[in-house]
């Protein structure tokens, strides 16, 4: 005789799904990315209509907190929220109570009192989005934390490649420049390898983080390595992050001569990308930036629809997966 025993635990209602955040690309599955790119594509079509505003997130509140300067990321998050009819509040590090010495925790707690649905945060310190997630019930979207992650940038880059090249899987992407200080590079290495692309990092050895191969990419210090790639992704030479006297490269002039992306170093048909803002004449030759093979302006447009997709995904059904972060209960 088969005995059926019902455990008391089985009768409990299932636990609510964990709050989802977008903090790191590492937390996404391939399915998550495909779903997000698909959503972005449909938003892209909707933006071709005359009436660009969708009612989807009406009544929702989205807070944009930018503790670090930003033009394209902050403006595209704000516009993305508005296109979806959400209410937005934008806070900048300077000119706010942060100037008066308020801690990140207290700023988050203050804003949490308005019950926002999403907090978009950019911060100069690694780990700020995780800390924010511990002190609010809102979904957190990382808009860049220190040198760690910039997941929406990587998603918009995938979207751009998908739309312009037609595929990501099997593609060879060379990421060129200051990898050491680049959150864009870290998110892109994870995103591209997740989707089956091959990634080669190219740049001066002093700007190549020791141990980065463990992320599943190849490393070269020879700029000629970019010729083999389908897409050349040029990183910004982050002058403001260079410690004084650190001597990562002897001079910007020498950097440009050795690792600058010029038309002579590219093959016809190679696509060129850059997360912006560009230092024309340093990491990228102006002729390359303005060439028809450059996808740089398309990336900016992709930023809007991808960020719409991320907000939509977090706030609607969006199958669980974005991130099951944070164990800490909200006090």
């Amino acid at each position: 005789m088969t005995e059926v025993r019902v455990m008391r635990e089985d009768l409990r209602p299932p636990a609510p799904p964990p709050r989802r955040h977008l903090i790191s690309i590492e937390d996404l599955s391939k399915d998550d990315v495909e779903r997000l790119l698909g959503t972005a594509r449909s938003f892209s079509r909707s933006l071709e209509r005359e009436m660009k505003k969708l009612p989807t997130l009406r009544g929702r509140t989205i807070v944009n907190m930018f503790f670090e300067s930003s033009t394209r990321t902050s403006s595209s998050f704000e516009l993305a929220a508005k296109r979806l009819s959400a209410d937005t509040i934008s806070i900048k590090g300077s000119g706010s109570s942060v100037d008066k010495g308020e801690s990140l925790k207290d700023t988050i707690l203050t804003l949490a009192a308005y019950d926002p649905d999403v907090i978009v945060i950019r911060h100069p310190h690694i780990g700020a989005p995780q800390l924010a997630a511990q002190h609010t019930a809102a979904h957190i979207v990382n808009a860049g934390d220190g040198k760690h992650q910039h997941p929406t940038q990587a998603l918009l880059d995938l979207f751009t490649i998908q739309e312009e090249v037609g595929k990501i899987e099997g593609l060879h992407v060379a990421i060129v420049g200051d990898v050491l200080h680049s959150r864009v590079a870290r998110s892109n290495i994870q995103a591209l390898t997740l989707m089956g692309a091959r990634v080669t990092l190219v740049g001066p050895p002093s700007l190549m983080p020791r141990g980065i191969e463990a992320m599943g990419c190849e490393v070269s210090t020879d700029i000629r390595a970019i010729a083999a790639a389908d897409v050349v992704y040029v990183l910004r030479m982050q002058r403001e992050r260079m410690l004084e006297g650190a001597n990562y490269v002897p001079s910007l002039r020498e950097y440009t001569a050795r690792w600058g992306v010029t038309s002579e170093r590219l093959r016809p048909g190679q696509k060129v990308m850059h997360p912006g803002p560009m230092n024309r004449g340093v990491e990228i030759d102006p002729r390359v930036a303005d060439h028809p093979e450059s996808l740089i302006e398309i990336q900016v447009r992709a930023g809007l629809v991808v960020r719409m997709a991320v907000l939509y995904d977090l706030l609607t059904h969006g199958p669980v997966g974005v991130q099951t972060a944070t164990l800490t209960e909200v006090a």
Binding site: G127, P209, R210
Partner: protein, 433 residues
């Protein structure tokens, strides 16, 4: 060299424990009787003699622990720790003596500051505490402190812990002068031009997370330099919180070349690797940083062999609001006094990586010898410095677990095996749990 509040010595009998004292060569189930703070008899079925009896069947009685490296934050940051709270935390961790580092506000670099600390310790230290004084004034690496006077005023040793003595010429002078003070130099080995901007160990984890890397070689080149200078001057020294495999190799080589060098390692470096930092928990940020699995293995082996002869907690309390910030903005340092034995029992002894008697030896006798303390021993005539341990008991580490004023423990939320039931320090019962 050690200071604590004066209190009446006690008389007790601990009955039925497994008595394990590797230094005295004892491992037997016997009773221990303490008369007025001194071990009077070790034997089977001792008569209580009217003393208080501690029934200890199934428990482990060992010589109490010594911590050569603690930050008591006094003077200056009494919100984080005081001599009273720090020594109570130490008592709860099974320690009978601790040594406090001089990187306070102000720095312990004059007999006046040291004298005030000694007075405070005499008024409120629950267990004996020794104080290190700075090697250089203000720990600024410019001028030597008056080491002979400081030694007379009670300095147990000298250290600029928290920072290295950068200039090799000054390091050499400090070594020469240590012959006059008669006290050992304890060195924080870090080459600042290699560690600058570093938050965690340089390797695959720092590469992926984007943290500035603090490479192993930043420690080991300074260890090698200081050992070379010590060899040249023929002076002893102590290497604080060793974290890198290369440093272990350098210490081993110097010792076989005749340099009188001791070294310590922390419970967190013995238990964790940089992989743990993926959680971005700011209570995993310390200097030196958690290193690779290879380094951790080298540290455990070195502790086992005796190349590293002491466990030190580097107990570094920080105010909650200072640690409740993004990892990158958080200060370096974690607490450790109250979790030292349990963390090492759980992470090294229970999985079979380190024998229990070796752990006891490195936490008591080995640690005591660093600054020349008589090792605690379970033998007749010795002052009673005892710890009674329950190695079967497990407990959950929470913010409520601590006597320390700070809760920046790398073990919050973790379950540990091994609990301190009783601590006797210098003949007094200072903790019961």
């Amino acid at each position: 060299m050690l200071y604590s509040k004066s209190a009446k010595k006690e008389s007790i009998v601990v009955k039925g424990a497994r008595v394990l004292d590797p230094a005295a060569g004892v491992d037997d189930t016997v009773d221990v009787r303490v008369d007025d703070g001194v071990i009077a008899e070790v034997g089977t079925v001792l008569h209580p003699n009217g003393h208080r009896v501690v029934e200890a069947g199934g428990l482990l009685l060992a010589p109490a622990f010594v911590d050569p490296h603690v930050h008591l934050r006094t003077p200056g940051r009494e919100d984080e720790e005081t001599i009273e709270s720090g020594t109570k935390a130490a008592a709860a961790g099974g320690f009978c003596a601790i040594f406090a580092m001089p990187n306070t506000e102000p720095v312990v670099d004059s007999a006046a500051v040291l004298g005030a600390l000694v007075e405070t310790a005499r008024a409120e230290a629950e267990i004996p505490v020794g104080f290190l004084a700075a090697i250089t004034k203000g720990q600024e690496g410019g001028e030597l402190t008056e080491m002979a006077e400081l030694a007379d005023a009670g300095a147990a040793a000298f250290s600029d812990d928290g920072r290295p003595v950068e200039a090799p010429g000054l390091m050499r002078r400090a070594l020469q002068y240590s012959a006059v003070s008669g006290r050992r130099l304890a060195l924080h080995c870090e080459e600042p031009t290699l560690s600058r901007g570093g938050h965690i160990h340089e390797g695959a984890v720092s590469a992926e997370l984007g943290f500035g890397g603090y490479p192993s070689v930043a420690e080991s080149v300074m260890v090698e330099r200081d050992l070379a200078l010590a060899a040249y001057e023929g002076r002893p020294l102590h290497i604080l919180h060793v974290s890198a495999r290369e440093s272990v190799e350098a210490i081993e080589a110097a010792r076989s070349a005749g340099v009188e060098v001791t070294a310590e390692v922390t419970p967190h470096h013995l238990s964790l690797t940089d992989e743990a930092i993926r959680s971005l928990d700011s209570n995993l940020k310390m200097n030196p940083p958690l290193r690779s699995a290879e380094d951790r293995t080298a540290l455990v082996d070195a502790l086992k062999r005796g190349t590293i002869s002491a466990v030190a907690t580097d107990h570094a309390p920080h105010a909650q609001h200072e640690k409740e910030v993004p990892f990158e903005a958080a200060p370096f340092g974690v607490t450790g006094l109250e979790t030292a034995f349990a963390s090492l029992y759980t992470n090294l002894v229970a999985p079979g990586l380190l024998p229990l008697d070796t752990l006891i030896e490195r936490m008591s006798a080995g640690a005591a010898r660093v600054y020349g303390l008589t090792p605690p021993k379970i033998e007749v005539g010795a002052p009673a410095n005892l710890v009674l341990l329950d190695t079967a008991a497990s407990w959950l580490v929470t913010e409520q677990s601590f006597r320390s004023r700070s809760t920046n423990s790398w073990l919050l939320g973790k379950k540990l095996q091994g609990q301190v039931r009783l601590t006797v320090a210098d003949g007094r019962v200072v903790h019961e749990g």
